[in-house]
């Protein structure tokens, strides 16, 4: 029994960290722009795919492969910002949403051309031998994922709360017009948020690929899980996104252990729907309207 619970916790920590890395990227772009970026999962896919080539096939050292991968993905993210963010033009958020979905399809289609349709993996950073505790096991790569999530989560929360750029980013989320009047260079902040979320997604792809594998089509699924976690935690709140991701993964792991893996999704989504019914803005969301106004959603 103890082993079962411990195994469920290990699994939840691993999977939760994966969801969290995606959710944080989704929430970051949202907090600066009000855009829900469905292409976030593609950054994860790109990170994994580029690493497959640089690290897995060309055997570059990690210290070189990782930064190069991050830079490439960040450039792609910046390009996405250029096409999807058009302030001043009467483009509704729904349109932007569709643009990000289109970008997602474009990126996965391009990846199919650049690479192929197969599933890929590169070796884990610290071998395959599992860590065992009271009969429960954990893959060493899972420790990398958890560590990365912890570092990224804390760094981002501090960045948004205490640095001038972080504060400017949050100001943009509350009211872009007012922020601009106060001297915040909105466009630059938006670009920064896209680049950061691109880099974040990429880092996620780099650390999770040895566990989850990567193929050109996997991005959208990850984006949906990340999006659900971000919603659950409260859109626009980094800490909330991490919490949402872990609530999600704990529910999944425990429903597999104590109910059945067939019913996992059912149990998980019933709980999530209940949470959102009673807390429409998520567990950690703002208690008043910010960023995404109702009329914005309706496109005026």
């Amino acid at each position: 029994m103890l082993t079962d619970i411990l195994q469920a916790i290990f699994s939840a920590l691993t999977v939760g960290s994966i969801y969290a890395l995606v959710a944080v990227g989704v929430t970051l772009v949202y907090s600066a722009t009000g855009i829900i970026n469905f292409a976030q999962g593609e950054f994860v896919m790109l990170g994994g795919m580029i690493m497959v080539t640089l690290y897995g096939e060309w055997h570059w050292p990690l210290a070189l492969a990782v930064p190069v991968t991050i830079v490439i993905t960040a450039v792609v993210a910046a390009a996405l910002m250029k096409v999807s963010y058009r302030p001043g033009r009467s483009v509704s958020l729904v349109t932007v949403l569709i643009i990000t979905i289109g970008a997602s399809l474009f990126l996965s289609g391009s990846a199919l051309k650049v690479w192929d349709g197969d599933v890929h993996r590169f070796p884990p950073f610290s071998g395959d031998a599992p860590v065992t505790l009271a009969g429960a096991t954990l893959a060493p790569q899972a420790l990398w994922v958890m560590g990365t999530t912890a570092v990224v989560g804390v760094a981002l929360a501090l960045f948004l709360r205490f640095t001038i750029h972080g504060k400017a980013m949050r100001a943009c989320a509350i009211d872009r017009g007012a922020a601009a009047l106060l001297g915040v260079r909105v466009r630059r902040m938006v670009l920064l948020s896209f680049v950061m979320s691109g880099a974040l997604g990429c880092v996620a792809g780099i650390v999770i690929t040895p566990l989850t594998l990567v193929d050109y089509s996997g991005g959208m699924l990850l984006a949906i899980k990340g999006f659900a976690a971000a919603m659950l935690g409260g859109m626009g709140n980094v800490v909330g996104a991490v919490i949402g991701a872990f609530v999600f993964s704990v529910l999944e792991a425990f429903s597999v252990t104590f109910v059945s893996s067939s019913l996992k999704e059912l149990v998980t989504f019933i709980v999530i729907i209940l949470v959102l019914l009673f807390l429409p803005r998520g567990l950690m969301g703002p208690r008043r309207v910010e960023g995404l106004d109702e009329e914005d959603v309706l496109g005026h």
């Binding site: 082993t3 079962d4 195994q7 469920a8 290990f10 699994s11 691993t14 999977v15 994966i18 199919l112 192929d116 349709g117 197969d118 599933v119 890929h120 993996r121 070796p123 395959d128 599992p130 065992t132 429960a136 096991t137 954990l138 893959a139 999770i208 566990l211 989850t212 594998l213 193929d215 089509s217 996997g218 699924l221 899980k225 792991a253 597999v256 252990t257 059945s260 893996s261 067939s262 996992k264 999704e265």
Partner: protein, 380 residues
């Protein structure tokens, strides 16, 4: 005046010559509605590449009784409604003689009654059992269905004394199909399924489920899923320290799976068609030559490895051409000739169609594999 007459005469002669030339070599048009876009694009690509290669070769040798074959390709996008529309278009507008396709089982279902109604000789490149059960007069297929593969696997389990099994499968068409066959056929092989759980293809971690198997009476584990799921399964299997014999579906046989799982795959067994293990087959195996030659020719022409889907198109085309040689293009005669195919040695197996069997394969087309030393080896 004379000059004009001469010119007219000359051009008339030329036109006649051209017309008669065209008459002699009127092509036999074959419709190919397969998937060229979306996640299944690589499937259609392999099928088209294979047909282009075979068509070129055949036409170079004079075609069928002097008539070249010509393919009309359409992209079904993996969507049933598009497949239906294009299937009708091939019949009504392109006036094709026969159709090879569609590729996906979910497209094949809605297309089947149309082939039947329009009396169109059709060899489908999808594997679902429903394509040939119940038998439709005009519809055949080449890929092996799960029923045959599962049957071979269960026979192996029984012969190895592994009569209590844990079954894991993914909640999608592929996983559900395999699971259904295992559950249906287990009793007749004297096998008891003591654990039966399903997961989703995108699951990143399956350790809680695998951990539960440890506490069951299972003597072996069978997993039925495709894409990334079997790889995650295999890695988690080693991680939780499950020591039971480990069986995967034929989806695991692709080379990418071994590359991705590395040493974690050691000892895994799977039932599958002979295609993936062509070079491992004993020289006495009649299929060895055709499989290895196809793989080499494909690689040489397209610079990529051939896959099972292209192989399905290969067999369908060869069966069709043999029937065309025998019966010509009259639909009813052509259909009958396809149905009379007996003992065609192909890549997917040795095909023998009959009025009651339009799948053509038996369990003999399936062999057991085991991962050993980083590669697949045939199990005796």
């Amino acid at each position: 005046m004379l000059k004009t007459v001469m010119t007219v005469l000359a051009s008339a002669c030329m036109a006649l010559a051209l017309a008669s030339g065209a008459m002699a070599a009127e092509p036999i048009v074959i419709g190919v509605p397969v998937i060229f876009t979306g996640p299944g694009a690589f499937v259609g690509e392999a099928e088209k590449n294979t047909l282009e290669m075979l068509g070129e070769e055949l036409n170079g040798k004079g075609g069928v009784e002097g008539r070249p074959v010509k393919f009309v390709y359409y992209d079904t996008e993996g969507k049933p409604d598009v497949a239906v529309r294009l299937f009708k278009r091939l019949i009504e507008k392109d006036k094709v003689t026969a159709i090879l396709g569609p590729t996906a089982s979910w497209e094949a279902g809605p297309v089947k009654p149309i082939a039947e109604k329009e009396k169109m000789p059709t060899i489908m490149l999808a594997s679902a059992r429903a394509i040939v059960d119940p038998v439709a007069r005009w519809v055949f297929k080449t890929p092996a269905e799960d029923r045959i593969v599962v049957g071979r696997l269960l026979a192996h389990l029984k012969a190895s004394g592994l009569t209590q099994i844990a079954l894991a499968s993914s909640q999608d068409g592929f996983g559900d199909g395999g699971r259904k066959e295992v559950l249906e056929q287990a009793a007749e092989h004297g096998i008891k399924v003591v654990f039966d759980e399903r997961y989703t293809m995108e699951d990143a971690d399956l350790t809680p489920m695998l951990n539960k198997i440890k506490k069951t009476e299972a003597r072996a584990v069978v997993n039925w899923s495709s894409s990334r799921a079997p790889i995650v399964f295999a890695m988690n299997y080693k991680q939780v320290g499950l020591a039971l014999p480990h069986f995967q579906s034929h989806a695991f046989l692709a080379k990418t799976f071994l590359d991705a799982t590395g040493a974690n795959a050691e000892g895994i067994m799977a039932a599958g068609q002979k295609f993936e293990g062509g070079r491992l087959l004993p020289d006495a195996d009649p299929q060895k030559k055709i499989i290895t030659e196809y793989q080499a020719a494909y690689k040489a022409k397209w610079g990529k490895d051939a896959n099972q889907f292209g192989a399905g198109a290969y067999d369908a085309f060869k069966i069709l051409v043999a029937a065309l040689r025998k019966a010509g293009t009259d639909p009813e005669k052509l259909r009958a000739a396809i149905e009379e195919t007996r003992g065609y040695v192909g890549i997917g197996g040795v095909y023998s169609y009959s009025p009651s069997d339009h799948g053509g394969l038996t369990r003999d087309s399936v062999v057991m594999y085991r991962v050993s030393g980083g590669g697949w080896q045939l199990l005796k």
